[in-house]
C-alpha cells in the first residue's frame, strides 16, 4: 500500500442558508485508510444527504479532508473523482453498457459475474441487480481513493451481495481505500467489520457483535 487514503469530517452539516435542504446533524469522524464505516438509520434520517454532502453534490458547511488535504483545495470534479459516490438507483446516460465502462478490465468484470460481452448489452435489458453491480464497476474504473456507497446491495441476491462485498473488501485491503457504506443489513455490517455511524443521532458505535449490540 503506497499511501494513506483517509477521509476526515469536522462538523459536516448543511449550511444555515441552504433552505432547500433538510437539516443534517453535524458529523465529525475519521475514516482511516482501509476502513469501512457503515451508516445506519431509519428512512428519512439523512443517510443519503450525508453521503451527498461528503461527495460535495449538495452545499455543506464544516470541513472535509482527504489525506489531510481540505476539500476546498480541489475543484468540485477533482474532489468527486477521488471521493466517488454511488447512488442507490444509479442513472445511465447512454443506451449500451460500453459507453459507460470503456476502461474496465476482464478481471473486474469477472469479479462481479460479467464478461466482455456484457459491455455490448443495452442498459434497459439489464436487471436492477446487474445495473447496480455495473454501476459499482463504473465507479471503480475511475480509480477513486474513497467510496461513498448508498445501499449498493439492496437489490441483489445472496451470491451477488457476496461478490460485491468481496470486491469492496479488495478495495479496502489491497488499495487501502476508505469506504462509507449505507446499509440496513446488520449481518452485513458484521461481515464488513465496520464501525457504525447512527443517524440522525450522529453517534458512532463499534462493530456490533450481535443484533442486540446494533440496537443499543
Amino acid at each position: 500500500m503506497s499511501r494513506l487514503r483517509t477521509v476526515n469530517l469536522r462538523n459536516l452539516t448543511h449550511p444555515a442558508d441552504a433552505r432547500h435542504l433538510p437539516r443534517l446533524p453535524p458529523v465529525s469522524i475519521n475514516v482511516d485508510d482501509g476502513e469501512c464505516l457503515c451508516i445506519a438509520g431509519a428512512s428519512g434520517s439523512g443517510k443519503t444527504l450525508f453521503l451527498r454532502a461528503v461527495a460535495d453534490l449538495d452545499p455543506s458547511s464544516g470541513n472535509v479532508y482527504l489525506d489531510d488535504v481540505e476539500r476546498c483545495r480541489f475543484t468540485g470534479p477533482a474532489w468527486r473523482r477521488r471521493v466517488a459516490y454511488l447512488a442507490a438507483e444509479p442513472a445511465w446516460w447512454a443506451p449500451n453498457v460500453r459507453a459507460h465502462l470503456s476502461d474496465v478490465s476482464s478481471e473486474q468484470l469477472a469479479a462481479l459475474g460479467f464478461t466482455q460481452a456484457t459491455l455490448d448489452r443495452p442498459v434497459d435489458r439489464l436487471s436492477t441487480g446487474e445495473r447496480q453491480r455495473l454501476a459499482l464497476l463504473r465507479l471503480l474504473a475511475r480509480q477513486p481513493q474513497a467510496l461513498l456507497l448508498d445501499e449498493p446491495t439492496a437489490a441483489l441476491d445472496r451470491d451477488a451481495v457476496t461478490a460485491v462485498e468481496r470486491l469492496v473488501h479488495g478495495c479496502l485491503t489491497v488499495h487501502g481505500m476508505a469506504v462509507l457504506w449505507v446499509t440496513h443489513d446488520r449481518a452485513q455490517i458484521r461481515r464488513l467489520g465496520a464501525r457504525v455511524l447512527h443517524l440522525p443521532e450522529a453517534t458512532v458505535t463499534p462493530t456490533p457483535q450481535s443484533d442486540a449490540d446494533y440496537s443499543s
Binding site: H20, G76, P77, L86, A87, A91, W93, L139
Partner: protein, 264 residues
Amino acid sequence: MQIIPLSAFDLSVAAALVVALAATSHLMRLGVGAQLLVAGVRTAVQLLLIGFVLKSLFAHAHLGWVALIAIVMLAVAGREVKARQRNPFIGLWGYGIGASAMFVSGFSVTVFALAAIVAPEPWYMPQYAIPLLGMILGNTMTSVALTADHLTESASKRWNVIEARLALGDGWRTAIEEIRRDSIRVGLVPTINAMAAAGLVSLPGMMTGQILAGSPPLEAVKYQILIMFLISVGSGIGAAIAVAVGSRRLFDERERLRLDRLRR
C-alpha cells in the same frame, strides 16, 4: 397599384367571425371561448396602438424614439420568454437570461442588417428599423423561449443522469452536454421548418404584406429571403446564448447541480 383600404365595417365582419368561433367553442364546452375573445381584443387594441405609435414615429424619425420602442419590445419579449417556461429560474435570472439572449442576438443582427445590408438613410430609419427588429425579435423570442424551457425542464426531469456524471468526477459541461445540444436543436426547429416550407407550403407574412401593398413580387421575395436568413441567425445566436448562460446558472462554483435555483 393602389392598396385597397379597409373600413371599420370590414374589420367588424372579421371580428364577428371570431365571436362566432368563440360562441361555438363555448357551446362545445372547449373552454377556450373566453381566451379567444380576450386574445382577439388584445390583438385589435395592441395593433391599433402600435399603428398610431408608428404613424407619429415615421413623422418624427429620431434615434432616441426608435431606441425607446426597441427597448419596450425587448422588455415585453423578455417577460413572454419567462412566462412560457414551466421551470424558470428564480428571481431576475428568469427574466434576464431570455432578455439578454434576445438583446445580444436580435439587436446585433438587426443593426448589422440595417447598417451593412439594407442601408437606409439614416440607418435607423423607423420604416425599416422597427419592422425588421419586430420580425427578428419575435422569432428569436420563440427560439429562446423553447430553448430555455427545454433546458430547465430537461435538467429538472433528468437530474439523476446529470448527477450520475458529476458523481463520477465529470465537469458540468460534460454532465449536461446532451441536454444543451437538444435544447438548441428544439429552439431552432420552428425556424428551420419555416425556411424549408417557405414558398411551398406557406407564403410568409411580410412578403404577402408587401405584395398586397403593391410591391413587385420579386422585390418582396428578396426582402423575405433576407428576413428569413436574419431570423435564422438571430434565433441561432439567441438559443446559443440562452443555453450557455442558463446551463452555467444550473451549476454553482463547485459544479454542483442547483435545481433549487429553478421554480418547480
